[in-house]
Symmetry: C2
Subunit: 254 residues, 2 copies
């Protein structure tokens, strides 16, 4: 059985706050017990991490470049300062059309606005960026939870990404520690013993999606406890999300 339970009582996060402390404080007794089991994952919306790490900017302090102004205009009147922050987070602009700016971030993620977002920011002219190194943030959170919980759950850091050919967003993993993000059934067999050729499951993304079901977007519930995924958790930190990212040679969005 898979379970997803949103944690209540995590306060508004400020730069310099310790996410492990905020989360450990919010965990009740039964939740702590559940986190000690194998197959437990703590799924955390990146905004909690980004705010704690100071990955925010005030638009009043951003000077847009001519390119940012041009893109903002082309996209139907976006705030050029917001576009400038997106460009600062971008390795390569992939699309700028239909009012959306699709970037490949410096981490290698392909997503709208390089993950830069204003909703759930602490102040009105503030935008939130993705953590600089989400796998590192996940490993750090995991290590700092251990002494507080007497357990080392897996950690996934998430963001909501759109899809090229489907409407709506799904939460996906942008950082992880303590689990293998891809479950590889290639070389395995189906019930009739036939090889499962193309079966490579993005299980970290599926866990992120399951966790998102447990919370509401306005509920102030940035952390969700998912249990029952013993198949993919591991005691070491593991490879992070790198196995989920397509290299340029296999990226079908080019």
């Amino acid at each position: 059985v898979i379970q997803a339970l949103a944690l209540s009582g995590i306060p508004e996060v400020r730069p310099g706050d310790e996410p492990a402390e905020l989360i450990a404080t919010a965990l009740t007794g039964p939740e702590r017990s559940a986190l000690r089991g194998r197959g437990a994952v703590l799924v955390v919306a990146h905004k909690l991490i980004s705010k704690a790490e100071g990955r925010v900017r005030r638009l009043a302090e951003v000077a847009p470049s001519p390119r940012a102004r041009e893109l903002a205009e082309r996209l139907g009147g976006k705030d050029p300062r917001h576009v400038q922050v997106v460009l600062d987070e971008t390795r390569e602009v992939r699309r700028a059309e239909h009012g959306v700016l699709i970037s490949q971030t410096h981490h290698g993620f392909v997503c709208a606005n390089a993950g830069v977002d204003a909703s759930n920011a602490s102040e009105d002219d503030m935008v939130i960026m993705l953590p600089l190194d989400p796998d590192g943030s996940a490993r750090r959170l995991r290590a700092r939870l251990a002494p507080r919980l007497g357990a080392t759950p897996a950690v996934i850091i998430t963001d909501s990404f759109g899809r090229a050919w489907r409407h709506g967003q799904c939460d996906v993993a942008i950082g992880c520690a303590g689990l293998r993000p891809l479950e590889d059934w290639r070389g395995g067999t189906d019930r009739r013993g036939r090889e499962l050729r193309a079966t490579l499951i993005a299980i970290a993304d599926e866990i992120a999606a399951a966790a998102d079901l447990a919370r509401t977007k306005d509920g102030g519930q940035p952390a969700v406890l998912v249990t029952g995924v013993e198949r993919v958790t591991c005691s070491e930190d593991g490879p992070g999300v790198a196995p989920l990212l397509r290299g340029e040679d296999t990226d079908l969005f080019r």
Copy 2:
């Protein structure tokens, strides 16, 4: 709390079998009770439905066209008969490179091989296609479960789709009944009262992903019971998956 529980004991499906009967028989007492609650969804892998509906073909009976032979060769030695079945299910070929064939199906789904798959087929030269009308299949299953269960759970029919810019597959909804597939927070507000502009959640896909976590690919568990999604279930059948499909004007994969 969200829960996902794979049902055991569903036998190998044959053409003409009644999915509602197979599923109702496999449900134990506590599972039946859970299905009666609001927020219960029965998530079914499309292969169960496709086999029952006879949506299978034997490769021995397929004569590949010159175009299928050419594509099979270009893609590195695929079976041209398999490619022919894919083309028969395809409205438009979107990519044919890196050994993969990405189609838009007649339903409008963009996916590898138009959803045609050989794994978990009943016989060695058999391939399985997507249901002709997965929303209709979901509505039919829902209606036929009702008298057997004394309840009308929501139904989602799933397949595993890859992503353009990320490795691995996630289960997504290809048909549904009894729930709204997109949860629209646009016009809603975040905790600080700021408008949540781009927040449109593909919740049917997130439910499909959560369900996939509960089963193994070789376990013969085509049906998963998900509970706790009262937010999106509804008494009427609802719009099916159409709201998840991008029109040509907003499809970023062109």
